[in-house]
């Protein structure tokens, strides 16, 4: 995202809190995300009035109301399209988009994918609670097969889609994952997203304690998460586990990942694959690791610098103006074949 500051501003968390009552269910993971966002925002040095939070519809999409910035709560699934217009009109704005697994992947999957490939310079936060919260608990595109919900009393039959893999397939330039209550990690990810120019896709696992409580317990709860979270870092070996002695090794023949233990069967740290944010195939492998056979990769899976859509749009306007000089409407109207009576 563009750092649009002209004058340095010293803001606090409070400055980012709007005066609206927060209407999520008590205990909802969204509170934690909100608090972390509000905590991190001041560090970005962006004036409040240069920031726009855009969302679709869903519990998650209520987010903009709680941010003391500009905000646009639009319609279901279409937030990326609104963001495109906003950035086309004013590339200087710092635009943050909040969507849910339903808003962003069900009705809004197409806008998401086009936003990602175009690399619109925004930060896109997807709160994935694997359920439709606002409509009171139907399965979503990220719900596991066999999920019993109001709309699937015999269990859902749709294979879920993994948001990060989808983003990679859609040619995203930045793909990251975090967890609602991992304050430190989430904060880091928000800052990485903000720093990236282009669509920064950040998936946040979020607990919906009313309709899908515990969906992420294995990677979210103390006592379990120590063994299940793989915190990837660029240039660092892909190790995990309480003792940090487990790791991922690539079998070059099969091109598949294996979980190995360092110090066992002659495995050393040198055998462990090193994370490379610029390798989209590695990111794809990491994103798709099946749980619980593999850990869940968190962090920046992929990041690549390339031109942004709004940047190029802007550049084309500038170039056109340079080429043509001051536009002349009368000349346009009189261009081509004319005759005078």
């Amino acid at each position: 995202m563009t750092d649009t500051t002209a004058t340095p501003v010293k803001l606090t968390k409070k400055d980012f809190e709007s005066d609206q009552d927060i209407r999520w269910c008590p205990g909802c993971g969204d509170y934690s995300i909100l608090a972390n966002v509000q905590r991190v925002m001041p560090e970005l040095g962006i004036p409040l009035h240069q920031m726009v939070w855009v969302s679709g519809i869903g519990c998650s999409s209520r987010f903009p109301y709680y941010m003391n910035t500009y905000g646009f709560h639009t319609i279901h699934g279409r937030a990326p399209a609104f963001a495109t217009g906003i950035k086309a009109a004013n590339p200087e704005l710092s635009v943050w988009l909040v969507t849910g697994d339903g808003d962003g992947l069900s009705i809004g999957g197409n806008h998401l994918l086009h936003c990602l490939r175009r690399n619109l310079d925004i930060n896109l936060l997807m709160f994935n609670n694997r359920i439709y919260g606002l409509t009171k608990g139907q399965y979503s595109p990220t719900s596991e097969v066999g999920k019993i919900t109001k709309s699937t009393p015999s269990g859902s039959i749709d294979q879920p889609v993994d948001p990060a893999s989808l983003a990679l397939g859609a040619n995203a330039s930045f793909v990251a994952r975090s967890v609602d209550i991992e304050a430190k990690h989430l904060g880091e990810m928000l800052k990485r997203a903000a720093a990236h120019k282009g669509t920064s896709f950040l998936e946040i696992y979020q607990n919906c304690n009313v309709f899908n409580d515990g969906a992420f317990d294995p990677i979210r709860e103390k006592g379990q998460k120590e063994d299940t979270q793989l915190l990837v870092e660029n240039g660092k070996p892909l190790v995990f586990g309480r003792e940090q002695n487990r790791g991922l090794r690539l079998n070059p023949k099969t091109m598949k990942l294996e979980v190995v233990t360092i110090g066992e069967n002659g495995v050393t740290l040198a055998d462990i694959l090193v994370h490379d944010e610029s390798n989209s195939a590695l990111a794809y492998l990491l994103a798709k690791m099946p749980f619980p056979a593999f850990p869940v990769a968190l962090g920046v899976l992929f990041s690549e610098d390339r031109p942004t859509y709004d940047g190029d749009l802007h550049q084309q306007r500038v170039t056109a103006l340079e080429k043509s000089g001051t536009p002349d409407l009368q000349k346009l109207l009189n261009s081509g074949n004319t005759w005078t009576v």
Binding site: S18, Q20, P47, L48, H49, Q50, M51, V52, W53, V54, I57, P64, Y65, M67, N68, T69, Y70, G71, F72, H73, T74, I75, R78, P80, A81, F82, A83, T84, G85, I86, K87, A88, A89, N90, E92, L93, N110, H111, H114, L313, Q316, R317, T319, A320, L321, K323, S324, P327, L329, Q330, L332, L333, N334, G336, N337, T338, W339, T340, V341
Partner: protein, 624 residues
């Protein structure tokens, strides 16, 4: 061949019997590959330069590139030019130029009885006749007896004429449209010079092609001069048009240029979000050329994204515009509702085409009026306008921009395939005379909330992100009248619904009263039209008036709200007739609102009204 050309020069003053006629309707038709559109355009330029008023309409095949010689591969171009005002491309052609059997087959039925038929007999071979489903050669079986037939082997004459240019025989044959044009120029006594100049510049990259086309044009002209068979040449004198500089303009170009003009008149950048669809795509194409005016075009992934991007752009301080047709319009309605709810300016161009569903994509229709006025969930009033002629598109788009920005509302501007593809001479406005459109963003934090209304217009302030001190949130949930925050309060919802409705209704106070296009402002019959039927109604009514019938024509450009005097106007006539290219939509709206027994005259054939049809209808009502 130089000799031929010389002959043209030397003979160009010689005059056969030249008949003065007040107007003429000529249609060129042939295979898609025969260059009929270019021929039509050049013939049009010549008529314009000669001072005629005119109106044109092309008729493309629905297919991209249909196989040669097929019935569905026929491309046509009609021009009506006259020494008086012209408002339509005309009904039945006086002259039909048919370059192949398929063109003859599909177009002959329109030619006036006794009209002049110019046929390229060279294309009437067995294969082409078969492709056109002719069992016998119509040039030989006597079936053309009712017309003045000029059967000429244009193909062959062209190849001979352009031999000097050294083209392949296939390429040489391609020049036959210029040969034909030359002949038509001779018949109507046109100057070849401008077209010769155009050929030179158009084909400057290929001297031999330029030469060949030049030779063909001159040869066709010379043929007219030489051939004994032509009994007549015609002269259509100048029309008494207002002084000024003119150009031909089509509706989509006029739309696009209107938006370009809007950047200058409002001082706002324009952001168009669009997804290609026939016949609206050209608005996108045309606008994408004007980045230096501050126009941004976004080819979105679909129509929904297109309008949402336009709304996003308006939210951020640009003028958001979207353009579409048919099924694309249906897809936008959810987002239009949001724009109504958040009260942002938005211009929606609907270039209507034949429906329902995919319908007849390349044909014209006016069947989206109901949708424009009523087609959303909830009470979601928007302003609806319609352009009457190609040139009017320029002015109506400015009107749409004016209303959208002044009232903070979506405005749907209706055009159609006929306006989009048709063209008419347009008096180029003096840019300085165009009305400035005042737009002000809210800056003052004092007392601000996002739904604080202007007491006059009821518009909310346009407060754009990036403005210090005006931080706020908007969305599609109902908002509190007094603070702009979300509100579920029953009374407030009613107040907001009424306010949004009153805001749109109030626009009626701010638009011109309805005036007669033709005729007195009371009488036996009012013909009330809207949109592209303007020309046909105007001429039809005029003809009836010349017969002494008590009939007037009024044309509604503001369809929601209606001009404030519409009810009164309607009541001053005994009867009201509403011709529309649909099954009766405006007629229902005015019956509902004014309780007048207006009568519907529907036509839904993918084609405009003919003047004759309007005339006949009026006469059947008033002469019985």
């Amino acid at each position: 061949m130089a000799t031929e050309a010389d002959r043209v020069e030397s003979n160009s003053q010689s005059s056969n019997s030249v008949e003065k006629v007040p107007s003429a309707i000529v249609r060129f038709c042939g295979d898609s590959g025969d260059g009929m559109q270019v021929t039509g355009d050049q013939f049009t330029s010549a008529a314009a330069l000669a001072g005629n008023d005119l109106s044109t309409f092309p008729d493309f095949p629905a297919e991209i590139r249909a196989p040669t010689g097929t019935l569905y591969g026929v491309s046509g171009f009609q021009i009506n030019f006259a020494s008086r005002d012209v408002f339509t491309p005309g009904d039945a052609p006086d002259v039909l130029v048919a370059m192949n059997p398929a063109a003859l087959k599909t177009n002959l039925k329109d030619l006036k009885r006794g009209g002049l038929l110019v046929v390229n007999s060279g294309a009437f071979n067995a294969l082409n006749l078969k492709k056109a489903n002719y069992e016998a050669n119509p040039l030989e079986d006597g079936s053309l007896a009712g017309y003045q037939v000029m059967s000429i082997d244009i193909s062959k004459l062209t190849v001979t004429a352009v031999a000097e240019a050294g083209l392949s025989s296939k390429d040489a044959g391609r020049c036959k449209n210029f040969w034909t044009l030359g002949l038509m120029f001779w018949i109507y006594g046109r100057d070849l010079a401008p077209t010769l100049k155009w050929i030179d510049s158009k084909f400057k990259k290929s001297a031999s092609v330029a030469l060949a086309n030049t030779l063909a044009l001159k040869a066709g002209y010379a043929y007219g001069e030489a051939a004994e068979v032509f009994h007549h040449r015609y002269e259509v004198p100048k029309a008494p048009v207002a002084a000024g500089t003119y150009r031909n303009i089509g509706g989509n170009t006029a739309m696009a240029w209107g938006l370009v003009a809007a950047t200058q008149l409002t001082g706002l950048p324009v952001t168009l979000g669009a997804y290609p669809i026939t016949p609206a795509s050209d608005v996108l194409h045309e606008l994408s050329r004007f980045k230096h005016f501050g126009v941004t075009t976004i080819q979105a992934e679909d129509e929904i994204a297109a309008i949402c991007a336009a709304i996003g752009a308006s939210y951020a301080g640009s003028l958001g515009v979207t353009a579409t047709s048919g099924p694309g319009m249906a897809l936008k309605m959810e987002a239009v509702g949001l724009a109504v709810s958040v009260e942002l300016p938005l211009v929606i161009l609907n270039i209507q085409r034949g429906g329902p569903s995919t319908g007849l994509p390349t044909k014209t229709e006016q069947a989206d009026l109901f949708q424009a006025v009523h087609g959303r969930n909830g009470e979601a009033p928007v302003c609806v306008l319609a352009a009457a002629t190609p040139g009017d598109c320029f002015h109506m788009v400015l009107e749409a921009v004016r209303i959208a920005t002044k009232y903070m509302t979506p405005v749907i501007l209706l055009s159609d395939g006929y306006l989009a593809n048709g063209a008419e001479p347009w008096k180029i406005p003096d840019v300085n005379s165009l009305p400035k459109i005042k737009v002000e963003f809210r800056k003052d934090p004092e007392g601000f909330h996002p739904f604080l209304r202007d007491p006059q217009t009821l518009a909310r302030p346009w407060a754009i992100p990036g403005t210090p001190g005006l931080l706020h949130r908007i969305g599609g949930l109902e908002k509190d009248y007094k603070s702009g925050h979300i509100s579920y309060d029953p009374q407030n919802h009613e107040l907001m619904c009424q306010t949004r409705a009153a805001k749109i209704e109030g626009i009626a106070q701010d638009v011109p009263e309805l005036e007669m296009v033709v005729g007195e402002d009371s009488g036996k019959l009012l013909v009330l039209g809207w949109g592209s039927t303007y020309g046909a109604i105007r001429e039809g009514v005029q003809r009836c008036r010349e017969r002494g019938l008590s009939v007037s024509h009024a044309h509604v450009r503001h369809l929601n709200p209606f001009p404030k005097n519409l009810g009164e106007v309607l009541k001053r006539f005994d009867r009201v007739l509403v011709p529309e290219l649909n099954l009766g939509q405006l007629v229902q709206l005015i019956r509902a609102k004014y309780l007048v027994p207006a009568e519907s005259y529907p036509k839904i054939q993918g084609q405009p009204f003919k003047i004759d049809e309007i005339e006949a209808k009026i006469r059947s009502m008033l002469e019985s």
